[in-house]
Symmetry: C2
Subunit: 275 residues, 2 copies
């Protein structure tokens, strides 16, 4: 079966391989698309990563990540904006199809989530002209509400799409099953995202029962409770047919297994559960 519809977010195999090794491993397994993280790219250098991707003919379905806009003072917010310019440059160099945006959490000491959300809107507005000029779409990813305090104050697809409406062209959304599967308004909002042409990426993994950690206990597709094939049908009905990108943070399980086993399992579960 073709694996054209499968991409590997390199966080999934971050414990096993650097970007070059991971890209070569994906190629060995017949996988033609990846999404690297900035710290992974920095670890071996942007040029090395660009070469590895070109040498292996890899598609880059996204680059993780820009965002992290809220900060306690104006200097901190400007530093975040400046860092996002660099993230855009790197995404362009890598040939990424979008820059994934994770908004950021509350500034240290703050209890004002509305203010943090305003900082996100302002940060995005600040970098958007540069992103547009670089033809780099910004893919705002709503993260699960359990991340609202320390990671991401954009917590529903509706909220992310409202931001898109406010910002105009050049922004869209990353829809990650893990973060939005629970949303009572999910079907409506996926359809809305499709109508507006806002779906830029589709990330997948599963929700485990029980979930033992708020960050690093995501499940392999099929091991949890998300109806992944039903979810994909909604995404395709909304007009998005790009790859499903496997993103699994799993400190106690998949990050401890051999990378080849992880990739084999991703392929098998993608074929069994996600189409």
């Amino acid at each position: 079966m073709s694996l054209d519809g499968l991409s590997i977010n390199l966080a999934t195999i971050r414990a096993q391989w650097n970007v070059r090794e991971a890209v070569e491993a994906c190629r060995r397994h017949g996988i033609g698309a990846v999404d690297p993280w900035r710290d992974q790219v920095a670890a071996i250098g942007l040029d090395t990563c660009v070469r590895a991707i070109k040498d292996n003919g890899m598609r880059v379905t996204g680059y993780c990540r820009g965002g992290m806009f809220p900060a306690a003072d104006a200097a901190g917010r400007q530093a975040a904006i400046d860092d996002n310019y660099r993230a855009i440059d790197e995404a362009v160099a890598l040939g990424a199809e979008c820059l994934v945006i994770v908004a950021g959490g509350l500034p240290s000491g703050s209890r004002d989530i509305a203010a943090a959300r305003q900082m996100v809107a302002e940060g995005l507005a600040a970098i958007l002209p540069y992103a547009r000029s670089a033809n780099m779409p910004l893919a705002i990813e709503p993260l699960h509400p359990m991340t609202a305090a320390d990671r991401c104050v954009v917590n529903t697809l509706a909220q992310a799409l409202d931001l898109c409406d406010q910002l105009g062209d050049g922004v869209g959304v990353t829809i990650d099953t893990y973060h939005v599967w629970w949303d009572p308004d999910l079907a409506n909002q996926i359809a809305r995202a499709g109508e507006d042409g806002r779906i830029l990426a589709h990330h997948i993994c599963d929700w485990l029962v029980p979930t033992r950690d708020l960050v690093t206990d995501r499940g392999m597709m099929g091991d949890g409770v998300i109806d992944l094939s039903g979810f994909r049908r909604m995404i395709e009905a909304a007009g998005f047919f790009g790859p499903q990108e496997v993103e699994i943070f799993s400190a106690e399980n998949w990050w401890k297994r051999p990378g080849d086993e992880v990739l084999r399992t991703c392929i098998a579960r993608y074929e069994a559960c996600c189409r």
Copy 2:
């Protein structure tokens, strides 16, 4: 200062005291309202609890909990409904002002959250005539989306209020800061709940950073990131002036401390952070 606006959900001191001891302790500390749990009541018997509450002149701001409607088969769903009739009877005996409803999670083996939500609506519709005849309001509590798989498929205030609209008289909502503080639509939905006269209870605790467990790592008011006094202002602006009920599940902290220390801290933080 008066503590009329404070209630203690007895889960907060469940590790330290049984219901009778807890009620007596609250009275010693000048607290005049509690909310016991069914397993706590069963542990020493309903009659003993009723007597302890009457002897100490306690107000009962709620009874935890009914609900848990989804089940894999019709017999399981009927058993849940029957159990809710008993919960209503107990709530009446205790003089509770409402029966708190936690919807329940996915049936074992299910990935169909829409079906589970339908089971919740049907379960509530089944028990509602009996609850009405007993004058026992059902207080649907939206729980945090991180509980959607195994505990509660009602995950936003909007969803709970839609259920209320569908069900009519005799149902309302419990608004717990911990479960809904992150919601981008919170202010609108609290106002909507007030307009419809649906606010039946206001639970409080705080969201810790980091949060180490999805169930039992809730924070004492003031130790986390929720703007509790701002939250209370929204609740009062919506017309609810009933007690704030402290509900803290804290396996590694507050459940390990002496109960008197916990109650003293609840009072101090209520006065400092919640009004």
